[in-house]
Symmetry: C2
């Protein structure tokens, strides 16, 4: 069975040495009292929970799956999930970065993200129960009425209740404009909602006393399409005036999906049969309100894949040091043994370092972005808040798509390190691959992310957000341009920055003539941008490592090596991607549909 | 549930229009009577068997898996597998390309390969039962004594008995030199074999009356390492002098592996407890004899992934034409419907065309190679036989690794086309992905293939085999160099050929200094060579299509488009691969093992 060790050293490196989380947030009155020691203690404790409580339930949860009792519509999560959740609530973890006004601890979002990386490494399926809850919390915190906030936020903060997002219907996933669920206004100001939802993660389970569903549906007077969708809060059990639970609301799990992975999470078909709900935000503006939750969820999906990449790497590295097979090409390295450990083989190292670089790059990007969200939410400086929001908007699709695509590659490489054993369930590697596959799909497929990036975030504002990020890179290149030791990082970073600028201009012009040119290039473009962002962070990490490596801590030697590996072995992918992106849409669009 | 339509049109195109199978083989006395109509009738009938008998058992076999009765050591394959196999035997399919001396039909290997592409599209797990049988047939045909051949080949030819390869042990897979199973000589000339084997595909099942295991073990006087391994034939039931079945031989299935995919195939732990066996080939030369089987198996694994790529493509294309979601970026294409079919979106087409191009390229390469094997086995001209053998040796690792890596990408893309539904078992797409994953591992991992290609097949003979293939390309480039319409294919093909030549020289020189340079570059190198080979075949296919497209058959327009797509969107990957390959081994080897 796989093991998991929280990567505390690298987390501290990214938080303190690379990004200076405490220093960056100290101007925010909300976070004026932060200190490194407290943060370190919190992540250490979180890591203990993840590795000791959750990780042991990952393989068993996969094997057992969830069970629906069709007579009661109740779902049982795998053995141990409920008890682990109780410990999670008892430990106060759901409240970590929630608003103190509702019982939260008020720590930065950054801390919550670090917590979630570790939870996901340990058990993605389990983590989706509290993960979606936090999304519901954020949505109601931003868009709920004061009454709704008073009713739901304390319980979502404490974790006594969990949450869901009910968007997808059988005929509509990406295209929510097609959705059919209906909301009929009632005399008391509530609504009766009827419809069928599918793919509802954590839709029904036995972890919490109540489940707060956020449901998209149409009002009777709704315009067609995506501008006629409203958002409703629909609790599993109605909440009485005194806060106690009342009648069961008719929102029932009709079936559980049988999936490739994340078996421990209940993916439900939910039937709403006149379920009582209350409007959240403005009528017909449900998509906008839901997008608060969706953007958080997209970051959350990136973190899921970051977690899987890290845990897959750890186990593959341990196996590669242990498994004896063949001799090194350059001569025996363990002559006293029957064969050398397979880590002596260059391609085994290449597979391992690919996963390691994707984990370390993803961690830097994800924590950087979480820190921007904290600035967006808490900085006293409006310009800082606005810049942070812009950068978060730009980076969100990259985090979602680039990190999840990387995890699919990385977990597969890590499986491969195990040879035939990687294909066998008991070793646990194939579960990481299966679990990671959904991350490329849900909360907007990676194709949708790429269109969001290129079409909306980049070309939609004539490259303004991208230019802001480009300035970050340019400033760093300028600062380090005279440092000989940094040339191996700075030169390819600067070169790729120039190429992205040219490619963006070219695609903007072509897309102006023919929008299919944007659609044809978007996936390649996102991956190029992902590499640009990773190259920037690896160059910055290399700089810190170069400064510190004299101190004798081998952590910095490893960091420097991983950065070199990234630049030499992974970044070159951009050469092919740029060519593909530039080759246009003709070879995609010319063929008649009937010939497919 | 997925459907499968045999790609008869493309098979005929490759066999007759591209490769002229009949014309190529007519100089071989063994195949002098071949004609296109017969071949077409055979593949049509084979396609019917695959689509009507096997395809309906694929999802059910995956869900049900195999069952071991621990008291009897007997294994039951999933429902329907046994009956399907009986029909397969009744139809004479196992005998298709077997030697008429043992009851075979004597058709070219090429036909068998076309058969197996379709069987694998329909049901890879089922197809592994007869597939391994054919490998055992080939091994005994090449290395068995006349008595062994008389005993086993007629029953393996008819399919009444099946076969296995028993190589792997818990502590050794890639490194067979470590194997421990022992063979004690007996007075009657037989051996008693004792040991534990794992990962034995089709090791035990209820499809056939007897199972003929080919087992690697050590004789008492065996030298250590891979030069002390001998090959034995070990039947499940001993065969009596009259050919009837005698005593149960103590080679028992101790457990079934629980795997990521190919659930319908029984992957067995086999315990040999003094099982009676007979030496095949020379003492201590077992690996060489087994490699006859292994090389056939490597081609077979490529065909497995070719089959999966094709069937995944077909289902994703059908879904993309059917599923309505969003409007085309360039404006509505189905204004009478609620949304456009998703095939209007450029990236959906890109995912589909990636799978299509990998299927069509793989098919051309695989049939070309099978035809070379036929020439190697049957040409009256010794030089032709020798050249064919060299080219088969060069192409085998490419077929095994490039086609299986491509299938992993392609089946994943095809899953993605289904959005969330792709992750749900009932749609069947995730099974293709799971099944395809093993193909990158077994019969020599894809890393091993890359070392075989670069280390042994290319650098091992100073590039002689590669140069021969290069001459094929050069001749084609020369022939088509003046054809304006062919420039879009010829120029990048010639350019890549030059780059491969330079890269090979560079890696040869670096590898001479430091063998880790070969190990560091080999996987990238194989993928570049795979693209070179595909580019050559797509250029040739484009040529045929250009010649024929005036006739109005839209097949040629589609072929030409797929070739263009391949050159514009897939071939550019080589730019990054070459850079990565050239960047050397330092970033892989520098990091201390303890820092991983």
């Amino acid at each position: 069975m796989p093991s998991y060790t929280p990567p505390l050293r690298d987390l501290r490196f990214v938080m303190h040495e690379l990004l200076d989380v405490v220093g960056t947030l100290k101007a925010s009155p909300r976070h004026a009292d932060l200190d490194e020691d407290t943060l370190n203690a919190v992540i250490e404790e979180a890591g203990r929970f993840a590795s000791e409580v959750l990780a042991p339930l990952n393989a068993t949860g996969d094997a057992e799956g969830c069970r629906l009792d069709k007579s009661t519509h109740e779902v049982a999560a795998p053995a141990g999930f409920r008890e682990a959740y109780a410990k999670f609530v008892e430990g106060g973890w759901p409240a970590l970065s929630c608003d103190p006004a509702y019982g939260g601890q008020g720590l930065p979002i950054t801390m919550n993200q670090v917590l979630y990386e570790m939870l996901n490494s340990a058990n993605q399926a389990w983590t989706m129960y509290p993960g979606l809850t936090h999304g519901a919390y954020e949505c109601l915190h931003a868009h709920g009425t004061p009454e709704q906030q008073a009713t739901y936020l304390p319980k979502l903060t404490s974790g006594e209740w969990t949450g869901t997002m009910c968007l997808t219907e059988p005929h509509c996933g990406t295209d929510l404009g097609l959705l059919r669920s209906k909301a009929e206004p009632q005399a008391d100001g509530s609504y009766r909602i009827t419809g069928n939802k599918i793919f509802i993660s954590s839709g029904e389970h036995d972890l919490a006393a109540n489940i707060i569903h956020l449901v998209l549906a149409r009002l009777p007077d709704a315009p067609a399409g995506s501008k006629g969708i409203s958002l409703f809060v629909v609790p599993k059990f109605l909440v009485q005036a005194d806060g106690s639970l009342g009648a069961r609301n008719p929102i029932f799990c009709g079936a559980l999906e049988h999936k490739m992975g994340i078996h421990g999470n209940a993916t439900c078909q939910m039937n709403l049969d006149g379920a009582q709900g209350w409007l959240v935000g403005q009528p017909h503006k449900g998509l906008a309100a839901m997008f608060v939750m969706m953007n958080a969820a997209r970051l959350g999906v990136g973190i899921q894949s970051l977690g899987l990449t890290e845990v897959a790497y750890q186990n593959a590295a341990a196996y590669a040091k242990d498994r004896l097979q063949m001799r090194a090409l350059s001569g025996p390295k363990a002559p006293d043994k029957a064969a050398d450990p397979i880590i002596v083989h260059p391609d085994v190292r290449k597979m391992l370092l690919t996963a390691r670089a994707y984990a370390e790059g993803g961690r830097a990007l994800a924590i950087h972005t979480a820190l921007l969200i904290d600035l967006e939410l808490s900085s006293p400086d409006e310009q800082v808040r606005r810049d942070a929001a812009d950068e978060v908007a730009l980076l969100t699709p990259i985090i979602k798509a680039f990190i999840t695509d990387n995890a699919w590659l990385a977990t597969s490489h890590c499986l491969q390190v195990f040879g035939g054993h990687g294909f066998i369930r008991e070793w646990g590697m194939e579960q990481f691959v299966r679990d990671s596959r959904i991350n490329m799909i849900y909360e907007g497929t990676n194709t949708i992310q790429s269109l969001d990036l290129l079409g909306r975030k980049v070309l939609g504002d004539n490259g303004a957000k991208l230019k802001k990020f480009g300035k970050r890179i340019a400033a760093f290149v300028e600062d380090e341009g005279t440092d000989e030791a940094m040339q191996e990082f700075i030169n390819p970073l600067a070169d790729l920055g120039d190429k992205v600028t040219k490619l963006t201009t070219e695609l903007g012009m072509k897309g102006f003539q023919n929008p299919d040119e944007v659609g044809a290039a978007a996936v390649d473009y996102l991956r190029v941008c992902g590499h640009l962002v990773f190259a920037y962070f690896f160059a910055r990490m290399a700089k810190v490592a170069l400064q510190q490596q004299g101190g004798g801590d081998p952590f910095y030697a490893a960091k420097l090596n991983t950065a070199r590996f990234y630049f030499q072995k992974l970044l070159p992918e951009t050469a092919g991607l740029i060519r593909s992106a530039r080759s246009g849409s003709a070879s995609l669009m010319a063929m008649d549909e009937a010939l497919f």
